[in-house]
């Protein structure tokens, strides 16, 4: 066979890289939707702050019993302000986490698509990571539940039933990816 010139000379070490594969479109859609929701929530927080505060105050007043209003104006005002602050914090956490977790889902699922050779393992990791990607929605529920159920009961509900399971799912997905990557390297 004809040889290219100088091919007998020693070459510098080369790092071989494979193509970066795309995860399923459903996973991509969740990641992009999270980013879009996060951006929209950020804009709403800035442009609609008075309206959001008014809405929150209305919901707190409508659920006076859940918030433990005593009839003392000073105490009730403090409780109302705390509940509104917590609801706004929920929206702020949602903005922050949706942007961050959207990116985590995007890049982690791309790693799964590129680095996990087993179909079932890939499917399980996509599922865990996508469920984990829904984690920020827990903060929307957190804000709403605080207004409807009272501060402590609302936080407890959101943390116990939404944030914890979805957060565990995200962690499990990332640990799974780590284990698969470590196993392939070994």
């Amino acid at each position: 066979m004809p040889q290219a010139a100088n091919n007998d000379k020693p070459r510098a070490a080369m790092i071989m890289s494979g193509p970066v594969r795309r995860p399923p479109l459903a996973v991509v859609l969740v990641a992009i939707s999270l980013l879009a929701l996060g951006e929209t929530a950020g804009a709403a927080m800035s442009r609609l702050k008075p309206e959001i505060q008014r809405y929150a105050a209305t919901r707190v007043a409508a659920n006076a019993g859940a918030h433990g209003f005593s009839g003392s104006a000073e105490y009730d005002d403090e409780v109302r302000e705390r509940a509104i602050f917590t609801a706004e914090a929920g929206l702020s956490f949602f903005h922050l986490h949706a942007e961050g977790v959207g990116l985590v889902l995007f890049f982690a699922s791309t790693l799964v698509a590129s680095a996990v050779p087993w179909r079932r393992a890939r499917a399980a990791l996509y599922l865990l990571l996508t469920l984990g990607g829904l984690f920020p929605l827990g903060y929307l529920a957190y804000g709403a539940a605080v207004l409807e159920l009272g501060r402590d009961a609302g936080i407890d509900l959101a943390e116990r039933w939404i944030l914890t399971p979805l957060g565990i799912s995200a962690i499990a997905g990332l640990v799974g990816l780590l284990l698969v990557a470590a196993r392939r390297r070994a």
Partner: protein, 182 residues
């Protein structure tokens, strides 16, 4: 016969998009480092600027009152710098991720180019609003500087990003539906 079906690969966005994204991240890093390294100098610069324009900031010449006003403005000045640092880092990554999706999923060249341009300009421009807000506080006061940053930077660039992201989400969903039908 064995048929190997490989998952489709990502397509890279245009090089200028990656350059803008990396530049945004680099500016954020430099901004973060400068905030820490030149904290005293930056605070002194902002304070001197505010003291030079007492009427803009409602300074009355009474130390107790003025110090409170100056403190509040300096907190906002610092917050603007921190928000620039945070948003420029995040938006740089958002530009890379979303433009990759647009480059891979959108078939029509005109739509692809438009969405990538909106994502890139919106994503890179929006964080600059926080820098502008901070820089304008000493000269224009808290409210006026916020209004200027809002209408010149946050609203146009933020709207571009939000519109492009929702269009992209819609197009990804549309692609999924049309592939399932086919």
């Amino acid at each position: 016969m064995t048929v190997v079906v490989e998952a489709p690969a990502w397509r890279m966005p245009p090089r200028w998009v990656l350059l803008v994204a990396v530049l945004s991240i680099a500016c954020a890093e430099v901004g973060g480092a400068s905030m820490a390294r030149f904290k005293v100098e930056l605070t002194r610069w902002a304070r001197d600027g505010m003291l030079a324009r007492p009427s803009v900031h409602g300074l009355v010449g009474v130390r107790d009152v003025d110090e409170r006003i100056l403190d509040e403005a300096l907190v906002k000045f610092d917050a603007g710098l921190r928000l620039f640092h945070m948003h420029a880092e995040g938006m740089g990554l958002v530009i890379i991720a979303t433009s990759m999706v647009a480059a891979t999923v959108i078939r029509r060249a005109a739509a692809r180019r438009t969405i990538i341009a909106l994502l890139t300009t919106g994503g890179a421009g929006y964080p600059v609003g926080y820098l502008a807000w901070s820089a304008l506080i000493p000269s224009y006061g808290l409210e006026r500087s916020k209004t200027i940053a809002e209408w010149l930077v946050w609203v146009p660039f933020g709207t571009a990003t939000i519109v492009a992201l929702w269009c992209l989400a819609g197009l990804v969903a549309w692609t999924m539906i049309s592939r399932n039908r086919a």
